[in-house]
């Protein structure tokens, strides 16, 4: 009898003051079990592989990850490599232009779609279609269109306009714009659909109120609707941004880094040195630098977005 009494007393105490351990692991147990596979994936695939990558960037591994620790040697070589520096500059230029133009054009198209036009769903489908194509297909299609002898330039010259020039793809100074055209063609439709969903999420009452106050439509879009679409904008920026950082397949299909090395991008450097160059150390150093760049942008943003919440509330 006494034993039982003591036990129930202990139990009662446990229930009254659940330990930290119990709170973390036992509360809402089924949900946690369901999340286990995802957590394992995150830990092993994302965190584990990231650590692996960073570790091997400090070794002199060649084809197989067996190298010795060499400190910052791989990074010294990386920053001295002309191709890497060109790749980074290219990505920054392309990224800035692509981000601004995709968002701008996406929003503009969404606003145009929002004017209660006829056949809206048909237009929406047409605009979204390029997104259904992979970057490889996009790249190949545009490679043919922009090929100076076989594509648009050749066709128009054959029609009689001899002076017509559209040789961006073979011009080292313009080749980034050629990439941009293909990238925008593929990506703007998706951005438009996101923005359109955001626009539709704005309460009709707000529009009525704005109209009653006599605010011009364009002003309502810019000053009232756009700030209300914050969530959609963040989603769009994250999606476009991640697409820019990993830019690889479009370049491979459209220009293969050419002419020369004028349209190289960091991801291609990583793949080339890992596989055809057989230099894992160098490739991992480059991959780590890509990660660092992303973190430099993401950490302050995440801090502002999530860390500042307490103050705002």
């Amino acid at each position: 009898m006494a034993d039982i009494a003591v036990k129930s007393g202990e139990e009662a105490r446990d229930v009254a003051r659940p330990g930290l351990l119990q709170k973390t692991f036992l509360k809402n147990l089924p949900a946690k079990i369901a999340a286990l596979p995802m957590m394992a994936t995150v830990l092993v695939v994302f965190v584990g592989c990231t650590i692996w990558t960073i570790y091997y960037s400090f070794t002199n591994s060649k084809l197989l990850p067996t190298g010795k620790f060499v400190g910052f040697e791989q990074y010294e070589r990386l920053f001295a490599a002309n191709r890497w520096n060109i790749s980074v500059t290219n990505l920054l230029t392309y990224g800035a232009m692509s981000l601004v133009l995709t968002l701008g054009l996406g929003f503009l198209l969404a606003v145009l779609m929002d004017q209660k036009i006829r056949f809206e769903s048909a237009f929406r489908t047409i605009m979204l279609y390029p997104f259904a194509l992979s970057f490889i297909v996009t790249g190949l299609v545009w490679q043919w269109i922009m090929n100076p002898t076989l594509g648009l330039q050749g066709a128009i010259r054959n029609l009689g306009w001899e002076g017509f020039t559209f040789d961006w793809i073979s011009n080292p100074r313009m080749v980034l714009f050629a990439l941009l055209i293909a990238g925008l063609w593929q990506g703007v439709g998706f951005c438009m659909v996101l923005m359109l969903a955001g626009l539709r999420g704005v309460d009709e009452e707000i529009w009525k109120a704005a109209r009653v106050d006599g605010i011009p439509t364009w002003r309502t879009y810019i000053s009232i609707v756009l700030p209300m679409m914050r969530g959609v904008l963040v989603t769009a920026v994250v999606l476009i941004g991640s697409g820019i950082v990993r830019l690889y397949d479009l370049v491979v299909a459209l220009t293969n880094g050419g002419p020369g090395i004028s349209s190289e991008v960091p991801a291609k450097y990583v793949v080339n040195y890992m596989f055809s160059g057989g230099n894992i150390g160098q490739a991992m150093a480059a991959a780590t630098m890509m990660l660092v760049t992303v973190l430099i942008i993401m950490v302050p943003w995440a801090y502002l977005e999530f860390g500042g919440k307490g103050k705002r509330a």
Partner: protein
Amino acid sequence: MKKFAVVAAMATALLGTTSAMAVDLEVTHWWTSAGEAAAVAEFAKIFEAETGNHWVDSALAGSGTGANPVIISRIIGGNPMGATMMNTGRDAEELIQAGLMRDLTDIVADMDIESFYVDPTQLEPCKYEGGLYCLPVNIHSWDWLWLSTAAYKKIGQPVPTNWDEYVASWPALQEAGILPFGLASGWPINGVPGVLMAGIGGSDLVLRINRDKDPEAVRGPEFRKVAEAMDSLRKVTSPETMVPSFGDVGNQILKGEAAGNIHGDWLAGDLQIAGGVPGVDYECLPGLGVGTQLTGGGDSFYFPVLPEGTDPAVLEAQAQLARLLISPEAQLKFNMVKGSMPIRTDIDLSGANACMKKAIALLDNGLLPSGDFSLSSDTQQQLQDLDLEFFADESVTVDDYIERRAEIIAQAD
């Protein structure tokens, strides 16, 4: 009980048939152009006829830069093919060291291969700690200048007999609207600097740079001549005039749209399939008409170690294929179609065409080790990046180019 007996009988019957039946052997390679595909079909035909096994052809696009990584990652990733072709050289060095390739010593032990290989240096990259891990099946060389007879007929000049005459003919060609140098986009440019180095710079320069990795040789006057030749070459090529593949350059040469091209001997296979006759429709100058030695690269076959529990018949098929590839019959048939030189000295080459005969004559001077032999793929990738940049960007001066190349060679491994 009766049922069980029937099932057991069927099972034994099935087992019996499978072991007696031919096995599939997957072979990967990147011989995808018309001439190359015809050549590899010769190997497949002989293999199927002689052994009754089935050659599963896995041709991979993209050559050494596209296909090689696929092959390597399949082997590293534990999904090895039965046999694979790779360039003779250091690409597979680490795979051999990691024990992923099958030792062929016992398989070819009774063939006395040392005695019939044209140049024993060909076997060097295959050897590791007393084992033999690959078999070179041909010698091919980048060192060829292909010239179009049709183009020179148009401008009324004799077909050049060496590099200098060829360079001198460029202005007249350009005036007549003919491309002096046809070029395919992508990897074909990668071989050109090595060819110029061997032809214009000479064998000593190649050895000092590739084998001894002496940066001072790069800064010396001989290499400057090579760099200047590349400088003049980049002035007559432009991305706008490039064609998609090297086979297309072959067609340009046959039609007389392009006057010349530096490309490996595998172009010969394509020229022949397109109906070209050497000496009539096109001329070939091994070593640019000035060099005395060819750089000998080549293709080798590797046989990856297959996972535990593989059907012994497949292992046997690997061994059979290894012996067949270097047999006189297969060597002759394959190389006649491909336009490369056989690795055996003891076969009758009287059927060889005019271009191959020129090359066979040069073989007596021995082979120069190609970049694949002496430079790691990492160094080759760095040189390739530099060459591509130099070719496309005229703001990179000859001096910059030499200095940057010297730095890469100084750090080469």
